[in-house]
């Protein structure tokens, strides 16, 4: 009897410990990043770090603006490409397509989410970059550095974001009650009017959350972007310019050039920024989605 109770006690505590450990990891990471990033925060004013575009670590100049702008450009472009396509396709799948087509397409989209990002990167290098270099840039009469740049990064990234936006939007649209569609149709509205005025209106917060989730994925994506974006630390001025997003900076340079003072602290600050932004996006999106789920029940 006592042994049974003992086992019961131990097992529940063990599980509690595992859970606490998993949750603690996040805070440990946060603390670790902050403590390693703090030297640069005390050496260089935060405004210089965020708004200076001079990145010359050997001179002690750490302006993150090129990287922040690079991240925003690539992410922004990816979102601009991904949002209309994935919204239209998820509206088609949930409102127009039959059950059979929906069931056939869903695993395909999930598959898209499961492809390793380095494969997307390779595809970008082998297909997107040459396409921009050989066809798009000459036709538009713009200069690129061999096709590498924000456009290539944005295209590759947008395809990586599709599955998230499509599947979350699909869930949200399906949570809109069928009765609502019936009401609108029975008033003599067409299918499109029903979708536009009723379904999308009801689903708006959820679609917003889906986009934010996609955005936060795009924000942190490293490998595929790094392979096609050109990696030049300069504030970009058009989509054909190369850029150097924060994740690429971290992946490319951490562990190298560590002899330069404050360099490693600067890289960890970049990681901290990234973590924060992605965290905030995720929290916003989750909060919206949780609210929707509750209102459905």
């Amino acid at each position: 009897m006592n042994i049974r109770r003992l086992k019961d006690n131990i097992s529940s505590r063990l599980m509690l410990a595992a859970t606490v450990f998993a949750c603690l990891l996040f805070f440990l990471m946060l603390i670790g990043l902050y403590s390693r990033a703090s030297p640069i925060l005390s050496a260089v004013p935060i405004t210089d770090l965020l708004f200076s575009s001079v990145w010359e670590p050997s001179d002690g100049k750490f302006g993150f603006l090129p990287f922040i702008m690079g991240t925003l450009w690539v992410t922004g472009l990816a979102t601009i490409i991904a949002v209309p396509i994935s919204l239209l396709s998820s509206i088609y799948l949930s409102e127009y397509a039959g059950e059979r087509l929906r069931n056939a397409v869903k695993p395909l989209i999930d598959l898209l989410a499961g492809i390793p990002s380095v494969v997307y990167g390779l595809w970008g290098v082998l297909a997107v970059v040459p396409f921009i270099k050989n066809y798009l840039a000459p036709v538009l009469g713009v200069e690129t550095i061999g096709g590498y740049g924000i456009l290539a990064g944005g295209i590759v990234l947008s395809i990586m974001v599709f599955p998230i936006i499509i599947s979350v939007t699909g869930e949200v649209l399906r949570s809109v009650s069928q009765d609502l569609r019936e009401v609108s149709l029975s008033l003599g509205s067409t299918k499109w009017q029903t979708i536009k005025h009723v379904v999308l209106r009801k689903a708006r917060p959820g679609i917003f959350a889906a986009i934010v989730l996609g955005f936060s994925r795009a924000f942190g994506e490293t490998m595929a972007v790094l392979m096609v974006v050109g990696n030049v630390p300069k504030v970009p001025s058009s989509v054909f310019d190369p850029a150097y997003p924060l994740p690429a900076l971290i992946a490319n340079t951490f562990g190298e050039m560590m002899s330069i003072p404050l360099y490693d602290s600067a890289i960890l600050l970049a990681a901290l920024m990234l973590l924060f932004v992605v965290l905030i996006f995720n929290i916003i999106a989750r909060m919206v989605l949780i609210k929707i789920e509750r209102s459905v029940i």
Partner: protein
């Protein structure tokens, strides 16, 4: 009989292999209230949804036949279904306000049909809210979300919303089943008032409601059209035994029983066999009442009799220990 508004001709519907509507042919009279009655799952709602083809939204449904409204066949693919639906307001089981303000709920229909001038819309909103007796209650908060209204108010709003597109027909699918008695009464009174201008079809499993409202009655049972006719005829003197049973089943046990069998004290296989023997000696269409006291028999005897092709008209507990099962051969 008065003019026909909806002509239903040989309508069949199949839902994943299940024959949901079997050869339904009936004419729905103009500017009267027609009640479609029958137990749950008999195809009442399916028939209603066929009329405005909202049935299309159901996956795995196929249908055939003809439903003529103003000489246009609803089932014909060439028919402009949007236009047909505009002629038919729908009042659903529970109120479903659109996710917008009270004002926009009413204005939605007229707007999608091309009305955009604010004064016109204002007038429509006021007219129809007054028609359903909601104006005084909501006139000061037209821009607040419709979902803030009480359930009863919401259902009246839904009625007004349907009327605002100026239909000729109002389809009601158990419109009071989610409402409290007072709100239900309110809706019923509205419908009685509206029938001088509109053709109303109401699906209900509430016989009392059908009796209060209907001028014409359609009785469905398991997808079959059992009987239809003017309400007073059907309610007072049903031609079909099943209609009589359905009406009586909800009120009093007044069956024209031809033969009675007391099987109290018999365990399961025996009451079953005796009932079968008794039916065997009877003529087609005659009615046998069986009294049982074995709880197992209450479900098993009707199931067995139905499997043999007989009809179960009524199963009812008559006192603490006994049930009556009424079977038609």
């Amino acid at each position: 009989m008065s003019e026909t508004q909806i002509e239903i001709d040989n309508v069949n519907a199949y839902y994943i292999g299940n024959h949901a509507l079997k050869n339904i042919s009936v004419r729905i009279p103009k500017k009267q209230i027609t009640a479609i009655i029958g137990p749950s799952g008999c195809g009442k709602s399916t028939l209603l949804k066929c009329m405005n083809r909202l049935i299309d939204l159901t996956d795995g449904i196929t249908y055939s036949g003809k439903i003529l409204i103003d000489n246009e066949d609803v089932f014909d693919r060439k028919t402009d279904i949007v236009n047909i639906r505009k002629k038919m307001g729908l009042l659903a089981q529970k109120p479903i306000p659109l996710p917008m303000s009270i004002y926009d709920n009413i204005a939605y229909g007229p707007k999608i049909h091309g009305l955009s001038k604010k004064p016109d819309l204002d007038a429509i909103v006021e007219k129809y809210l007054k028609l359903v007796g909601l104006w005084e209650e909501v006139k000061d908060r037209l821009n607040s979300p419709a979902s803030q209204l009480s359930i009863g108010q919401q259902q009246r709003l839904c009625l007004a919303r349907g009327l605002a597109v100026e239909p000729e027909i109002i389809l009601c699918d158990e419109p009071t089943s989610a409402l409290d008695p007072v709100s239900s009464q309110h809706i019923e009174q509205q419908l009685l008032k509206l029938k001088k201008d509109y053709t109303i079809v109401i699906v209900t499993h509430n016989i009392h409601q059908a009796m209060r409202l209907a001028d014409y009655v359609v009785h469905l049972y398991l997808g079959e059209l059992v009987e239809h006719g003017p309400a007073n005829e059907v309610f007072e003197n049903p031609k079909e035994e099943r209609t009589r049973a359905y009406i009586n089943g909800t009120f009093f046990a007044d069956f024209k029983v031809d033969s009675e069998l007391n099987l109290k004290g018999n365990a399961c296989p025996f009451n079953f066999v005796y009932a079968k023997q008794a039916l065997h000696t009877m003529e087609e269409g005659k009615i046998l009442k069986v009294i049982v006291d074995d709880p197992l028999a209450v479900t098993e005897v009707p199931r067995g009799m139905e499997a043999d092709g007989h009809k179960i008209l009524n199963v009812k507990q008559i006192n603490k220990t006994d049930w009556q099962i009424v079977i038609q051969k």
